[in-house]
């Protein structure tokens, strides 16, 4: 269709300005025009000249017409010498456009004349088909041609393929051509040894398409050698597909794990390091997500060009917003409740209700639309699995946040003071550390990280006032499972929970899988009440 519009414009131009030399040249290069030259009574030589001309265009779309010519399906209409691909339909012929393949209705058989062919013409067509696409200058085009030939499995193309393989220099294209040849060989009447070799080649390709091809072949063939080879190849491919299915599960699991990690990592600071049960943690995540929403709204209204940068702008802002709320919470509430974990739990739960209702009042109860920048959308294939960019970026982002936090804890003065205060508050105070200030900063850091997580989660989850609630239980379980006070534990905990969850899903379904995971964690906590990586020594109960 998109070719039709310039063509129309061109005809318009021709009508308006008369046939100029440039227009004529372009019209000659158009395959649709060349194909029409098959029309009318022609000598074989003239037909061959048209074939050569078509091959010279390098346009893959002429392949349909050429193949029809070879198979004797190319006709021209007596009334206007227009050329069509036609198939018999009852007493009549159904005709198709030779380039687009679009149906052009039915005509009585008397109206059509076959474009005459003989063996030398057929050979010329086969050669043209080969050179046309398989010998194109552009490797991407050769690759496409090989892929098309693979699905077509046309035994006639073995010869051109062999020639193309011999001439091919690009290894990837060559491999694809060999696969195409193998598929053609399976469909041909070559000896069984060749077919067995072809089955091996297909086993190397190992995707679902070659699997169906081999299964069809193994069902149809009578030759034991070929069938054995095909069956071996089928098993190999099935194993390969199973492997990639597992890989896909691992990938989904890691993706879920990174979401859990993001949600839990701030909690690993406030709960894990400080021992504060912050039930409002999920709301910090939610605030981060809403910050992203506000930033995007602002950009949409004021500077649409910056949209690709919206997440980068939202990150520091989300950190500041959630961090500030965390700071206020710590100073105004939590510091009065140190040493009373159950009371802290209740008070912070109250804060979470207030924050939820506040957001609901300001932004309304419904989901808010947060857009994905271009670099976050789309997907690509790795082997047989598909990887979406937003999941990939979130995994990367989660790991970056994790490493940054690790660096802050281990390599900065604040981190040093934080660890000192957690390990021995009085000694730290005696060394001149302002413990209340460190408490406040630690809590603000944990909350700020939650805000950053909110920016990432806004890309894959609904931004609603309930966003945080859905993560809070999972986050606590991750931290408790991984072991309190241990960032690495949180990483391992999040990832293993994610993977286990995704591996259970195919067997148990999403909800039951989640329940099983919850029950497993409950049982695990029975066995190891202090988590996967428990702190040891005298600080355990401090």
């Amino acid at each position: 269709m998109n070719r039709a519009i310039p063509w129309l414009l061109l005809s318009l131009a021709v009508l308006l300005f008369g046939p100029g030399p440039a227009a004529a040249q372009q019209a000659e290069a158009d395959p649709a025009a060349i194909v029409q030259k098959f029309g009318g009574k022609q000598s074989f030589d003239a037909t061959e000249a048209v074939i050569a001309e078509l091959a010279a265009t390098g346009d893959e779309r002429v392949a349909r017409a050429l193949r029809a010519l070879r198979d004797g399906d190319l006709y021209w209409r007596e009334s206007d010498e227009a050329v069509f691909v036609a198939t018999r339909k009852g007493g009549d012929y159904e005709i198709f456009d030779p380039i687009t393949g679009a149906s052009a209705g039915t005509v009585p058989s008397g109206d059509l004349q076959k474009v005459r062919v003989k063996n030398s013409i057929r050979n010329a067509v086969t050669g043209a088909l080969g050179t046309l696409t398989l010998r194109a200058d552009n490797p991407a085009q050769r690759m496409r041609a090989a892929s098309t030939l693979f699905s077509e499995a046309d035994p006639e193309m073995i010869g051109p393929l062999d020639a193309a393989i011999a001439a091919e220099e690009d290894a990837a294209v060559k491999a694809r051509m060999e696969e195409a040849r193998a598929s053609a060989v399976l469909a041909s009447d070559l000896p069984a040894e060749d077919k067995a070799a072809a089955a091996k080649v297909l086993a190397g390709r190992a995707d679902r398409e070659s699997l169906t091809m081999l299964i069809r072949f193994a069902g149809a063939t009578d030759d034991p050698v070929a069938r054995q080879a095909a069956e071996a190849a089928i098993v190999a491919i099935q194993n390969n597909i199973a492997f990639w299915n597992q890989m896909q599960n691992v990938w989904y699991g890691l993706s879920l794990g990174s979401v859990l990690l993001l949600a839990a990592i701030g909690l690993a600071i406030t709960f894990g390091v400080m021992g504060v049960i912050n039930m409002a943690h999920g709301e910090m995540v939610m605030l981060g997500a809403y910050t992203t929403f506000v930033v995007q709204e602002f950009i949409r209204n004021n500077a649409p060009g910056l949209f690709e940068w919206s997440l980068a702008i939202a990150l520091p802002l989300a950190f500041l917003v959630s961090g500030a709320v965390g700071l206020v919470m710590e100073r105004g509430l939590i510091r009065f409740l140190y040493g009373r974990p159950l009371e802290t739990l209740l008070a912070t739960f109250g804060v979470s209700l207030i924050l939820q209702q506040a957001v609901r009042t300001i932004f309304g109860p419904s989901n808010r639309q947060v857009g994905n920048p271009d670099w976050m959308s789309g997907a690509f294939d790795v082997g047989l699995m598909s990887v979406t960019w937003n999941r990939l970026w979130i995994i990367v982002f989660a790991l970056v946040v994790f490493l940054a936090l690790l660096a802050v804890l281990n390599r900065t003065p604040l981190g040093l003071q934080m660890r000192a205060v957690t390990q021995n508050r009085r000694m730290a105070a005696a060394m001149g550390i302002r413990t209340p200030w460190v408490d406040a900063m630690t809590f603000a850091l944990g909350s700020g990280i939650a805000g950053i997580a909110g920016v990432a989660l806004s890309q894959i989850d609904n931004v609603s006032p309930n966003l945080g609630q859905s993560y809070i239980i999972d986050s606590f379980l991750v931290v408790v499972f991984g072991g309190v006070g241990n960032l690495w534990g949180t990483l391992v905990g999040a990832m293993s929970l994610g993977v286990v969850n995704k591996f259970l899903e195919p067997y148990a379904g999403a909800v039951l899988g989640k329940i099983v995971v919850l029950v497993l964690i409950i049982l695990f906590i029975q066995k190891r009440p202090r988590g996967l990586f428990a702190q040891k020594g005298r600080f355990v109960d401090a």
Binding site: F336, G350, L353, Q357, I522
Partner: protein, 383 residues
Amino acid sequence: MILARFLGPRVWILVAVILAAAVLVPMANLGLPRDHPLHVPSYAVQLWGRFVCYALLALALDLVWGYVGILSLGHGAFFALGGYAMGMYLMRQIGARGGYGNPVLPDFMVSLNWKELPWYWYGFDQFWFACLMVVLVPGLLAFVFGFFAFRSRVTGVYLSIITQAMTYALLLAFFRNDMGFGGNNGLTDFKDILGFPIQAVSTRAALFAASCVALAIGVLLVGWITRSKLGKLMIAVRDAESRTRFIGWRPEYVKLFAFTVSGVMAGVAGALYVPQVGIINPGEFSPLNSIEVVIWAAVGGRGTLIGPVLGALLVNYGKTIFTTVWPETWLFLLGGLFVFVTLLLPRGIVGTIDHGFDAFRATRRARDAEKGEAAGAVPNPAE
């Protein structure tokens, strides 16, 4: 009676008030004409009947939180399980009157194309069996859960979080259609209970009275447990678990006992609640519900018998008023209540009043003692 002295006058006053309500409210609802100034409208009977069930639930939580120091964030699960057991009985009572007219299968099973009643629905056509299950199912869950949790010494916030995870897991499970509990919609459209139409005003009044009686029994039971030797042990476990263990007691059994009794009480509360509201759905398992129970007990005063009852009634009455008059503010208020109570009123209303009295008495005794000392009497330091 020994129990009379044992419990102290305040508990008896509470029980007397509850029992009086059990008699007088239905009388005022059914016996007095509509325009009589003391007439209690039917909607109020239903409303307060629900609140009484909540009070029993809060009391159950108080037994473990106030007296043994176990903060359960999953008591809503026991409540809901008791409710489901009762709901299953009520479903079976519908019989052929359901939308599909199937004499055995409840409507939702017919629409799921089930041919047979699942085995766990057997017996629920008998009231006694349902009552047994109301006690057994929550009790068993509490026992098994508590057995594993307390044996491996899961304490404090860890326990709170896994109780929350427990109710969350049940929430997810009961949402599933193929669990056979009506999925998302739960069990509803009840027709009658023990042959009485469930919508009738008199049935409602009777359910109110039954709830009050259950609450009174609950108060007596918790009072009796907490004032017995075992109760002393519970408080010892709450205040110094390790020390209690070193002396030679087994805190895990004390906790397990309290947790199981508490689970059963919560189940009974749920069973009385369901016929009064006419529906039970998985929403009752939501963690928010369980944590709201905690705030009822906290507002009233944990570690007291009157506190949770008072707290449940007050907070729920407030909730009813605010959610009808000004729905936006309720969550602000509830959140604020959490913050306010933990920060400024950690003992709750009853606890604070008690504490005030104690402090007042202590100062007066100290003053008396000073005077007495001047007169040569032996000082009697108050603690």
